[in-house]
Symmetry: C2
């Protein structure tokens, strides 16, 4: 079971990294051009109801190839996208043309939401692999909330979810060390792969070190070094794009070295302000390992 999933994942993964596999045979449901409402709800992890059985309401799919741009900054907004399969990145581009990665949408993720406000996309979306996306015209999106009242809440909910995600990114960038960021990134990826039915223990990165670094507010060198360090410690295995998770819990609880920017006093009543960074390894574990772990 687990092995099968790994296999599945890896084969698709290597196809991805090959950029357009020579044979596309069997690659996703290539011919799938439309989804009905029920399928859409399942994709978005929204509870579906019996009233959604009308199969007249269909949603078109579109395919993008690795490297293709789905939308660019400033382009008039009119449709949202839901990832049916494949991997993407969304980026902001600053005045010097430098990219800042905002997210890595994958199966079940919604993107394009940032275009609603100004009626123009605020970010750019690029396919990191061949992708199959469900088009969700914004008009259709809002109409959905009206015709299916049970869905109205879901619409808002999905947007709220995005907001919470961004918040946790802000919190991560503001308070965590490089090691902790990379560790959480790996855990997060692992969990998303698990959600998608792939292996959470072994997967291929779809993005470059540079893109990871941009996403995490680090340089590609730091990302590379950190991965190597985790590898040496035995938390993960690394070989280029292929990552094996050895100790998910360790990664999850990895400590942010800098107690950093957060408040000391208010919570000083509790035993927070945890272990001073200076505590020496007292156990049997290798020094580096101990240092990396949360108190």
């Amino acid at each position: 079971m687990g092995a099968t999933q790994v296999q599945e994942n890896r084969s698709e993964a290597s196809a991805m990294s090959m950029r357009l596999p020579p044979m596309e045979a069997g690659w996703q449901r290539q011919g799938k051009l439309w989804s009905n409402l029920k399928e859409l709800c399942a994709l978005l992890r929204i509870p579906a109801t019996s009233t959604m059985n009308d199969d007249d309401l269909l949603f078109q799919h579109v395919q993008f190839k690795t490297g293709q741009r789905i939308h660019t900054i400033g382009q008039p907004f009119d449709t949202l996208y839901i990832v049916h399969s494949g991997f993407l990145k969304t980026v902001l581009i600053d005045e010097y043309g430098n990219e800042q990665v905002l997210s890595f949408p994958m199966k079940g993720d919604l993107f394009g939401v940032d275009g609603i406000h100004t009626r123009r996309y605020a970010s750019e979306a690029v396919a990191l692999s061949n992708c199959d996306l469900v088009l969700l015209p914004f008009k259709k999106f809002t109409a959905l909330g009206r015709t299916h009242i049970e869905l109205e809440h879901a619409m808002y909910s999905v947007m709220s979810r995005e907001l919470v995600r961004e918040q946790s990114m802000v919190s991560m960038l503001g308070a965590l060390s490089a090691e902790a960021r990379v560790a959480r990134f790996l855990v997060s990826l692992s969990e998303r792969f698990a959600d998608m039915g792939y292996s959470s223990k072994l997967f291929n990165l779809r993005m470059t070190r540079h893109e990871i670094g941009s996403y995490l507010g680090l340089t590609l060198e730091t990302v590379s070094r950190t991965l190597s360090a985790f590898n040496e410690i035995g938390l993960i295995t690394v070989d280029q794009r292929s990552i094996g998770i050895c100790d998910a819990d360790a990664l999850r609880t990895l400590r942010r070295l800098p107690p950093s920017t957060t408040r000391n006093r208010q919570a000083a009543g509790r035993k927070n302000r945890a272990a001073p960074v200076t505590d020496e390894p007292s156990g049997a574990e290798p020094a580096t390992w101990d240092q990396l772990m949360s108190a």
Copy 2:
């Protein structure tokens, strides 16, 4: 005119920083307990239409005093809040009890949105000054979208705006230097004060250095030092909580010293990858000034 605004701002500001002024006489429209839909739209900067004239639809206000908590993390969500007057902060609290400031809501801002997804607030909101908030029960919020179709888009738009704001925060935290973050923070505050009809040139900070630092992913010392540096250079004047903006453009274009995490190659064609940080002052300006400005 400008002077009046400044005066207005400052007097209220000093009241704020005093934490509960001895006399509350004349403080805001203290007695205001309800708003109608038109007023709400104005507050949220949403275009209002003639169909919104029914004055049966009223929205209750609530007052909070400095330091009071509006909602906490995990508390069951059922209402959104719109700031009618006053200043707040929203924070995330990590496993050690440390705060991470996410935003500083002020007049016209909506918060509580992060509670929609899980039906529980994902963040905590605290009043930094006496506040007058409009309660917007989520049920009423969604109903509004149904009864006033013109508003439906606005509902989504407001949420989208929040998302874009978070995105720009992520981008800032991921790519800008300490100086640049503080500079942009000041500019942003300045503009928001201008929107609210106050002076954009002279205002009082409602938050501590520590809170600013948390918001910007810096320590309070760095914030303090940076403000002092800006002061010496003549970009601003600082005296405790009181800030005077002297050169808004300079602040706006302030360069991030580390070209940092962004991509070098893609934009390498242009003359970006700007001046190496090591270049010596060659002009007439003081060294520090030159170093701080964008190429």
